[in-house]
């Protein structure tokens, strides 16, 4: 695995295998299931938000902005910034950091408005 060099940094004393977040809390999650992002299959764990499932798969963006068409994903992580909007099972403008992933969810990269029946 490629790891960038760490200039000027003191290394941790012992080199143990990297723990994972799941190790830290001794998680024994329920069985993983499949969701798709633009048709590509990804796995998610029960209870994870859609944003968390995407992060776990190494995906950091799933929306492009209206004007500049720039890639965006989760930013505030708590439902206040609306940068994580996704189209889920055909419904646009869902906050991926709040909506739990469900087996078979089809997430589509949301371009611009998604749809303009907007709210406040």
């Amino acid at each position: 695995m490629h790891r960038p060099p760490e200039p000027r940094m003191k290394r941790p004393r012992a080199r143990r295998p990297r723990p994972t977040p799941a190790d830290l809390v001794q998680a024994a999650p329920g069985p993983e299931f499949e969701i798709t992002l633009d048709g590509r299959a990804l796995s998610a764990l029960p209870g994870q938000s859609i944003a968390a499932a995407l992060w776990a798969a190494g995906v950091l963006s799933w929306r492009t902005t209206r004007r500049g068409g720039r890639a965006r994903g989760a930013f505030c992580g708590i439902g206040s910034c609306f940068d994580c909007l996704a189209t889920v099972n055909g419904t646009p403008n869902q906050r991926a950091c709040l909506v739990p992933a469900r087996p078979g969810d089809a997430i589509i990269t949301q371009e611009g408005h998604g749809r303009a029946d907007l709210t406040v």
Partner: protein
Amino acid sequence: MPISPSDTHDLAVIGAGPAGLAAAVTAADLGLTVALVDAAARPGGQFYRQPAAGLGAARPQALHHSWGAFARRAGRLAAHRTAGRIRYLAEHHVWAVTREAAHWAVHAVRGPDGAGARAEVAARTVLLATGAYERQLPFPGWTVPGVVGAGGAQAMLKAGLVVPGRRIVVAGSGPLLLAVAGSLAAAGATVPVVVEAGGYAGYARAPRTLAANPRKLVEGIGHAAALRRYGVRLRTRSAITAVHGTDRVEAVTLTRLDRDWRPVAGSGLRIPCDALAVGHGLVPQLDLATALGCATRRTPDGTAALVLDGRQRTTVDGVWAAGETGGVGGAELALCEGELAAHDIAGRAPGGVLLRHRDRLRRFAGVMAAAHAPRAGWSDWLRSDTEVCRCEEVTAGRVREAVGDLGARDTRTVKLLTRAGMGWCQGRMCGPAVAHLAGETALEAGRRLLACPVTLGELAREER
């Protein structure tokens, strides 16, 4: 007899974070009927955010200090629910509180992101414990995927057991950064450096306040030890002033700051990383409170917080507040204030111990706020093409044009001229930056029509 949904509760608590949870269980202990209304799926708020049940975490406390304080209150909540003294309404996003003839009406929309049905709760008194969100200051490249809020990274880790990258720089200002770096490192990420724009010297200048808050010292020492253990360096008086990469973070530039947070020319250092977690302290969430007419004050770190008396009363009769809504001060203070408010609402005098504890922690919060408050020079690191408003993609150049050429002097005028702050987040992300660029001095505290997005259909029903 258990309360039924149509009853008028003695108390409606909005927010089930440390403040709201402590208030609800204390009020129920004292004999009140309580509705505890919260947007999240589980109680705990920002600090005691836990992995979802499906993730089967055997040791959620590994991500928190003082877990016992939460676990005890969560146990009391369960008992009061069974006994019918507390109605706990999870996944209820409150968008307004209104005064009716004989009670307060709490209006909510349901579901994980508030897209569901409406619900209404009636209560004789209201406690606002809506907490805070993270303050963001823009910098070149802060919209590149992989740049995430520091509190956001913490929240995603605690709830979803995920991290945004393998090598994560943590930057901004405030003590939350130390906690975030510690958790990310414990969860397996490499955190090369924590970049703090302010400093920790200010704490040393308040030795009496420090000595009076031994638990805060222990917490601080705990963070420092964790950072040492994981080989995380702390760079104070510095900021990230550029992000490299277009579709993903590849590296960031760390720059030294002068006393006023102006970048020192020629001091840039490139640090390779695949994610950056940033935040500059917290902003109290006051939408519901300001809509009710509660007065606000400016805190030492430049945000607005509610004006409260010694018993946690707001300036509106029948409305109390606790926790970050009264000024950012952390989970321990939030717990304490929640209990104080509950006593007052129940007509009981709180013990002197509780009052002194609150005052000590509030003083500590003041020292903390002053040490990390943004200094005016920060905006020197903006380039004219740096986006200030993420939603409407409005650059610093356009905001400066509105201020310099068109004479805008406040957030509202800048918004009308540029659309900055008019998007989905209603200025939560760009508000502090736009106010600063506009040279605004007066408080423009969270004046939003609604505290959370509500569909037009829901509003139309309200108008009937």
